[in-house]
Amino acid sequence: MDLDRSGLVQALRQADPALSRFDPLPRIIAFDDFDRGFCGWTQLVGNYEHSLDSMLPGYAQHSQAMLSTLSTWDFGSHGSFDGSYALKVASKPRVGAQNVAIKRLTFRKRGPIRLEFYFTFKPEANELRLLETDVRSIGFLYDLQSGDSDADGLRVMPHIRFLNAHDGQHMQTWQFKRRTTEVKPIGTENKTVTHYHLAPQDWEDLPGGHQKLCYNEIPTKVNWHYVRFDYDLETMRATHFQCNDRVFDLAGFDSIKIPAMRNLWCMLNLAFFVETDTDKRAFLYVDSVCLSGDF
């Protein structure tokens, strides 16, 4: 067998059970298996200056992600995709409450990147009912900014969510967002601003984005789902979005775009979020995450 370098790399990755379920680009930027700890995933804290009271309420509600064995009251620990632990993001038990986990990086080349991860979601199982419409949404986002020497000084924030339910209606639709709230200064030093990009308004349906995911038949059993999202940092455009067996048309997709900010050059943040549709905690679980790039 005659293998070139890329063929050899691909063969080695496919022989590795942990990586074989991913299709990474040549360079793996991060491979986060939560059996090794939090892997740099932390809570998204809102901006503030002088007082924590200046933090927008949408951010003030956020709390720390957990390492979870998907512990259930009725059959014990579910376990993660291939080990004991998954990253858990939990909302508070108040309709519309959100929580976000974030990983903060920078990029060294403006080119194609690929985010792949496995996820599942459930509400807190405090009733003996299916509860399939208690989680409002789960989703992910990038928070990106061009380099300090680039001509196109932009901050770009691609957002995608799975709107599972809204006001009790089972929606099961992928959505995107191209607008954030007004960017407002915080404090008195003219150094910090804030905006709420996860505000409930301005989500738009992804064309053809209705998808029925496996939810299972009681409120504690879960099944893991695969997502792949390709993005080009050079053109700042999404090029591929897939969940399980479905690949979605991105012709109508767009991102939040706002002027570059003074301290965020080459930023490459990625985040996962969850939102509840009832006064019940909503849980997003992720295991694992592979971020790769073509460089």
Binding site: V45, L52, Q64, T69
Partner: protein
Amino acid sequence: MIRESQTAVIARNERWSGQAATEPYEAGWASEAVIFIRALADAQGAGGTARVEISPDGMRWVPEGATFPLPVSKDEVTFARVAHFGNWLRVSSELPDGAALTVLVTFHLKA
């Protein structure tokens, strides 16, 4: 392998009065925890008591046994050390009528 360690901010700038409790936190990977409560401002009224609670499922809570005073003056910190807590952990508090406290609660967990 180095021991896993994590600082988790469980409640930030939350105003407590009467009965209060932090959100459930899963930390089955950790064998020990130190729980700190910091007063972000001077408390209103008399001080109160915090107690550590554990749970079989994150929904039904029982006292772990550790109790400690809530801080009273701005930036005062109180704490408790716990081990053998299983998976679920939270801290609850009780303040007398008319009392209130704004807190920062952190769990310091170690495998």
